[in-house]
Symmetry: C2
Subunit: 461 residues, 2 copies
């Protein structure tokens, strides 16, 4: 693979100043400003392997890998959270059914294609998703490495890309053995898989870390990859996430830990307020590192695992915001002093969705009126009392907060200081609702730029 | 006034190719493509007059009128619908109180400034709004034309512009007599008032018509003006509307007629999903044309008036969409076969709000997947059944519909035909939910363009 890199780099140098195109990005195409988010190394969970292959799901993609395979050497506990959109893509239906049929046990792999979402494709689309899973199973069976246990497919299937077009399923099936053959456990293997699931993403999103649990002496590992860019809003838009750990966790606590982690991570980010047909975040736990299994939904290990996974999922989800389509800013919206977590989150989400707030941030305009306005029209919220509401900018460099509104009264804003704060890529907006209450929520979002319009005005071509 | 026009035209010719600026537009600055929406004449209700004056509410506005006055020669019934935002601007609070105190009777005038919203301005802002109303009353009293009836102010106050800045109330009060002196009943008077309430609007929005009622032989008149452009979403964003009629209608039926008309007009349009602190649509009925008054909320006259006003308000509201910030398309979203009107409207509104749908329309991309996707995530809707959902484009020229999805199955779309349809300024998106149901709703919206981002990235400067 290293042999072709110089050519890819040449190609990429030419497109680096153009808008992002709909294809998995080659390594050289990663914008300079985003390179710091792509890890140069990692520590990966035992017993997992990753690989990728080039299919050309989109005919225009003649060189970038667009099929990814993540596999465990031994059967895993698995759990997933799926889109709430009423139009659910075929892979969502098929993967949900598989996990239900297996009660989250004995799962071996996740297979993902980019370039086509296999959504709104009728019965044929369901058959394609089933085939994609079964043919992945066959790779293991042919390799004497995954005998049939009579419970059907062991593979979670994911697709991302254009809606309403059938998968080129023969081309995908033909290349599954290549992806299987390419499996490996090095950093480059994980990174190539993370790259293959990308669509309009400008960089692959891969995070890994080690952790421990109170009742074991073992060192455990987590790896996660995700893709996003557009159509991202609470309830996980065209967003895929795959997390693997070598800690031993039973399916039931695993599902509970994942669901809770996602509420505060992938369901707390917003790019454009759209919620897609395909989003799925799945976790596989193979227990390969040994130690005492987590079998219940309580206890010190369960709690610790929940905290660890939530923090990890937040790190992953933030990368999606960093790569929001056309984004120039990373904005943390923190709402405090709400009556409930739900109230706080609704206000934060409403601010995060407001095109007027997002374009003002893009324009580096300290237009707190729009923040307040969005606070005021958040639906179903009880905690908003105009004369108790305060709004501040919290600078990313740790310097003093800039108060914009204090208990309903506008401050004399130092515009030079505001401009300074808004010139930074990172910004926190802090909204205090009422001192009577003490619940809070955080939502991460980005700004709305000319480039977002460019990217999405011409996506299918 | 005709003497200064050539200068204004010269100035405007220079800025015509630039982005719209935050100021009431001069006549010459109206884009060529929008001129057809500005009437050259009108038929106006008896006993009403309109006028305007230049205040310079925004210091940068050195020449365009930014204060409008609409007055009736005799006391009117009045009704209004206000923003649902929890942060309500001072003029909203003051006008609501005035109408309540007067039970909608004896109202004489509407006074409006553009350039500053007088929102989030605390007690001082309330005092300013009260002053603005009372000083307008004073013009009538000084003119021996509006003696105090002991029920306080007779004026509805409106403001639109930047949030969080105090009104330059002395400058406004100083120019109220000028606006009063400029009152008149010609087409030019109405148009100048319609122009003075504009902010980022590119053209003044004025509609007039005649109508009759079943039980009278009189000819009645309606005039309406509105301003909008950004921050527009169901529940009326930074949107002001003023409607006057010379039909005789009591306050109670007038309020009911207005509320109902607004549900299907101003609350059925969406530019960017933001709902502002200031929106107000008010109606004044002075009965100057005579005939039998509408005194109850039933009967043939009441019904006819309701239908007439709904249709009229739709015409006005559509002009706001025509002038959506940066809009290049006028899109009618019709959702049929829903269980309830609310279901249909929620689906239509969700499609209208989706940045992905709106940027695809801007890019002339027949991306029905995004339409379907938005249909699928509309909240609290029961009528959506994926395998019964159909989506079509209805061309503006009356030619055959282009089916994109029929009962959940994608059509082979003729992309050349789709491109033809999307090249037109006007487009209807038709979504059929389920043949079991028969309720429908229509929402009007526009696309999301680069210019929207430009306008809103730098609004306050």
């Amino acid at each position: 693979m290293s042999l072709v890199r110089p050519n890819v780099r040449l190609l990429c140098r030419r497109v680096i100043n153009q808008i992002r195109t709909y294809a998995a990005p080659g390594e050289g195409a990663i914008p300079l400003s985003k390179k710091k988010y792509v890890p140069a190394s990692g520590t990966y969970p035992l017993g997992f392997q990753a690989g990728s292959a080039h299919v050309g799901v989109k005919a225009s993609n003649t060189r970038f890998d667009d099929l990814a395979l993540i596999a465990s050497e031994s059967p895993c506990s698995a759990a997933a959270v799926f889109t709430t959109n009423k139009f659910q893509a075929a892979p969502v239906t098929v993967s949900r059914d598989m996990l239900k049929r297996r009660s989250g046990s004995g799962v071996r792999a996740v297979v993902v294609n980019s370039g086509c979402a296999n959504a709104v494709t009728g019965k044929g689309g369901i058959e394609d998703a089933v085939t994609m899973g079964e043919q992945t199973d066959q790779c293991f069976i042919r390799d004497n490495n995954g005998e049939d246990d009579g419970n059907g497919s062991r593979t979670i299937v994911m697709s991302t890309g254009v809606i309403g077009q059938r998968l080129p399923i023969r081309k995908i099936v033909d290349k599954l053995p290549t992806a299987y053959f390419n499996l490996g456990d090095t950093h480059d293997h994980w990174l190539s898989a993370a790259r293959a699931i990308c669509t309009t993403d400008t960089f692959p999103k891969l995070v890994s870390r080690t952790f421990s649990l109170p009742s074991s002496s073992e060192e455990y590992h987590l790896v996660g990859m995700t893709k996003g860019a557009g159509m991202i809003h609470p309830n996980m838009a065209t967003l895929l996430g795959i997390i693997c750990t070598d800690a031993p966790i039973d399916p039931k606590p695993l599902q509970e830990i994942l669901t809770s982690a996602i509420t505060k991570s992938f369901n707390s980010i917003s790019i454009d307020g759209d919620t897609s047909t395909n989003d799925t975040v799945a976790i596989l736990a193979n227990g390969a590192a040994g130690g005492k299994p987590i079998t219940t939904t309580s206890g010190a290990d369960f709690q610790a695992m929940q905290e660890t996974l939530t923090e990890f999922a937040i790190d992953l989800a933030k990368l999606v915001v960093r790569d929001g389509e056309g984004a120039t800013k990373f904005v943390t919206i923190k709402v405090v002093n709400a009556k409930t977590y739900q109230d706080a989150k609704r206000v934060a989400s409403t601010i995060a969705r407001s095109p007027l707030v997002k374009t003002a941030l893009y324009g580096k305009d300290a237009n707190w009126g729009r923040i307040l306005c969005a606070t005021g029209y958040a639906e179903g919220v009880e905690s908003v009392v105009p004369e108790e509401t305060s709004v501040s900018f919290i600078p990313a460099d740790g310097s003093e907060e800039l108060k914009l509104l204090v208990k309903g009264e506008p401050e004399q804003v130092d515009e030079a200081r505001a401009a300074e704060i808004l010139a930074e890529e990172d910004l926190q907006i802090l909204v205090k609702l009422s001192e009577k209450y003490d619940k809070e929520a955080v939502v991460w979002t980005c700004d709305f730029s000319h480039e977002y319009v460019t990217i999405n005005g011409d996506y299918r071509t």
